[in-house]
């Protein structure tokens, strides 16, 4: 039974990948590019040591983002506000870390905690609005994303926190080396893998344990499967909503840290602000399961990194975003189709098995 289930859960992403590749091929033909050159060029570059290192780094970021979203998705709570939560978390982390002169472990720990705190706080606003005023978290988290950008702009441009860094870019003061987490270059000598990569693995494992081996995780999954049954079983729905959103926001707060602590050391206005949406896509792809999310994050990062080559072939690198968008919509449909088929087929096979049992009695 279980092998079958695993097989079933791979069908949908496989279909998604296939259709997306096919559609991309069509687009490539339409713009007059050569399919074989494009795909082989992506593959060749993508499997080079440097690209793989960059890919792991990006995948770390995507993994954390998708994890944050998944915690909510598992109970049908849509935290679309990861963008706002992580930029505020990264800003807070940058400010805190740049003011610390502690040994690395202490500094990084405090930095992480501040990022989680701010992320959770920002998500908490949406949680309170939902629980106290019945506001849909989909809309409120999106509004909070925009508000977060405004707040950051204000802080960096109009307060002393933002200073002129090099190249006329405003940002926070640089984090001292003791607060950075630069990482180890174990695949390509010139490209370190973020230190946060290893922390993310730990977080992923912790997420799995939390969800599948603790009482809280059971309550969360039960709420996602049937809110009414969960309530009857003793789960307090308001409490669940708040705790889950806070957790989701806390993890979201970390999304900017691999890049912040492993590379730039300062939060500037150029800090990427759309990693949250990517997380949503990957969470949908990975079906809110840490392993699926990890694979999805790697796939996404591969597409992003290897498509950087495409400009040499005259193809906009954004073709990867179309592929990604298509994968999401096809996969989401396929999952639903597979799920319905699974439920039906299990009903039939159970009925058959029972008939056999009765016959042999």
């Amino acid at each position: 039974m279980n092998l079958r289930r695993i097989g079933m859960s791979l069908i949908a992403p496989a279909i998604g990948l296939f259709i997306s590749l096919a559609a991309t091929a069509v687009i490539l033909i339409a713009i007059g590019a050569s399919i074989s050159t494009v795909f082989s060029s992506m593959w060749n570059y993508g499997t080079s040591p440097r690209a793989m290192s960059l890919m792991l780094n990006l995948a770390t970021i995507y993994f954390l983002s998708a994890l944050a979203v998944s915690i909510g998705f598992k109970m049908n709570l849509f935290n679309i506000g990861v963008n706002g939560q992580y930029v505020l978390g990264a800003l807070a982390a940058a400010v805190v870390a740049s003011n610390l002169t502690l040994p690395k472990v202490a500094s990084v720990t405090i930095t992480i905690l501040s990022a989680m705190f701010v992320g959770a706080l920002w998500a908490g606003i949406a949680a309170w609005l939902k629980v106290a005023r019945g506001v849909s978290e989909v809309i409120s988290t999106i509004m909070l994303n925009f508000i977060a950008i405004g707040i950051i702009s204000y802080i960096i441009v109009r307060t002393p926190i933002g200073t002129e860094t090099s190249l006329n870019i405003r940002g926070t003061a640089a984090i001292p080396e003791s607060g950075m987490l630069r990482g180890i270059a174990f695949i390509d000598p010139g490209t370190p893998i973020y230190g946060f990569f290893f922390i993310s693995i730990v977080i992923g494992i912790a997420y799995w344990f939390l969800l599948n081996r603790t009482r809280f995780g059971f309550d969360l999954r039960a709420t996602g499967k049937s809110a009414t049954a969960a309530r009857t079983s003793g789960v307090q729905s308001n409490r669940m909503i708040v705790v889950t959103m806070l957790l989701s926001g806390a993890v979201a707060g970390l999304v900017g840290l691999p890049y912040l602590l492993g590379d730039t050391g300062s939060y500037t206005l150029q800090f990427p602000t759309d990693w949250g949406f990517t997380g949503i896509a990957i969470a949908l792809l990975g079906r809110n399961n840490p392993l699926g999310i990890a694979l999805g994050a790697i796939l996404w990062a591969f597409l992003d990194i290897s498509s950087g080559q495409l400009i040499l072939e005259g193809v906009p690198r954004e073709i990867s975003t179309i592929m990604q968008g298509l994968i999401v919509i096809v996969v989401v449909i396929s999952y639903e189709v597979v799920r319905r088929y699974q439920v039906k087929s299990e009903q039939t096979s159970v009925a058959k098995a029972l008939e056999k049992q009765e016959a042999s009695v």
Partner: protein, 404 residues
């Protein structure tokens, strides 16, 4: 038309004008109710109103349309792409068609395949974002006047109308500064100044929606799909067809809203929608899933958008804050009368904070204006979300014969 005469509308309009008037008098800022401001507010309100209307069509048929933002984005792109090549009306048409395609995609995913509607909508938003970014680079980079993230200017303009005989005298009356009368004059003048044909179309779409959905058999059946699709099916109503029609039309309206945006800014630009699809959903909730309230909400947002954009002396934001404070106090008062102490206290505190802000600062950083629409959305939803009556089967995936 009967709605316009109804007590609710008159009461709401009266209250709104009074509050605006008070704010204008205290701040001395005539811009708050001037002809130009109001005219511009209509322009900004229309795309949001269209998004809200799109939301009504979909949700009245029982399908939550979170993908409105994506459909709007598709609309902005369609208008930019067709508009710069073939003129403004081609742009409108393309915007509508692109939006419809988005709607069709949502219908297929959510209605036929039963994907969770919020997930399907989110997926469409992601797809629309990626698709338009890619196509923009592909199609606009080398076009004359275009760039990697924007289209060349759209050719031609939508006709606008100004009725000088009304606008002139009323504007003069506005400049007199008489409490309430002048503000009313300014507002009325604004309605007939540079009135775009697209705005008129938007208004007509609202009227048409009211009529179609509540006065015809078609509308009854569509709404039944959102109230109790199993009952409707048992009476021979083709529920799936209605859901499809509603969602595709929803996409068309959102696409039209997007087209309006591009045309008003004369180009397509990445990120031009800036969350307006979602703000549209908020106006729909605020309007209790009815066209009248939705339009009111959209007008409010359009107004806020306008104030911040034509804020030459940074004064408009101050005015907004004062107005916001007044509104919060008013809502707090209503809550007190309804004996909802906790909510009342919350609103009164917020109102006081805003009054404090108003009096303490001479000017506000532009970021405040930038986030004003989003904070307003949150406030609006926080007040309005409870005690509402969405369609009973809204968001429920429908499968034939699924009921017992």
């Amino acid at each position: 038309m009967t709605y316009l005469k109804s007590r609710r509308f008159i009461g709401a309009a009266f209250t709104a004008i009074t509050m605006l008037s008070i704010t204008r008098t205290i701040t001395g800022n005539g811009d708050l109710t001037s002809t130009v401001t109001i005219a511009q507010a209509l322009v900004f309100a229309s795309p949001i109103a269209l998004a809200g209307l799109a939301g009504i069509w979909a949700e009245r048929a029982g399908v939550i349309n979170i993908g409105l933002e994506g459909m709007m984005i598709l609309g902005t792109f369609g208008a930019g792409w067709a508009g710069w090549q073939w003129g403004v009306w081609a742009g409108v048409l393309a915007g509508v068609i692109f939006g419809a395609i988005g709607g069709l995609l949502l219908a297929v995913a959510a209605v036929t395949f039963g994907v969770d509607q919020i997930i399907a909508g989110t997926a469409i938003n992601l797809l629309a974002l990626g698709l338009t970014k890619f196509l923009a680079i592909l199609l606009f980079t080398d076009a004359p006047g275009g760039g990697q993230a924007q289209s060349p200017p759209i050719k031609g303009e939508i006709p606008t109308f100004t009725i000088d005989s009304i606008v002139g005298p009323l504007t003069t009356l506005h400049e007199r500064g008489i409490f309430f009368i002048s503000d009313l004059a300014g507002i009325l003048a604004g309605l007939f100044y540079n009135l775009s044909l697209l705005t008129i179309i938007t208004f007509l779409l609202f009227v048409m929606t009211s009529y179609l959905l509540w006065k015809t058999a078609f509308g009854l059946r569509l709404r039944s799909a959102g109230e109790n699709p199993w009952a409707a099916d048992s009476l021979g109503v083709k529920v799936v067809q209605f859901k499809y029609a509603a969602v595709v039309f929803s996409g068309m309206l959102a696409g039209l809203g997007g087209a309006y945006l591009s045309i008003a800014s004369t180009i397509y630009r990445n990120g031009n929608t800036a969350g307006r699809g979602f703000i549209g959903l908020a106006t729909m909730i605020f309007g209790d899933w009815r066209p009248g309230g939705t339009a009111a909400g959209a007008l409010m947002f359009g107004y806020i958008d306008t104030l911040r954009l034509i804020d030459t002396g940074n004064q408009n934001v101050k005015g907004l804050i004062l107005l916001g404070a007044i509104i919060l106090f008013a809502i707090g008062g209503i809550m007190l009368r309804r004996a909802r102490r906790n909510s009342a206290i919350g609103f009164l505190i917020l109102g006081s904070v805003m009054i404090g802000a108003y009096f303490s600062a001479t000017s506000f950083p532009p970021e405040v204006a930038q986030v004003a629409p989003y904070i307003t959305t949150l406030l609006v939803l926080a007040t309005a979300s409870q005690n509402l009556r969405p369609p009973a089967a809204d968001g429920v995936p429908y499968r034939k014969g699924d009921h017992h």
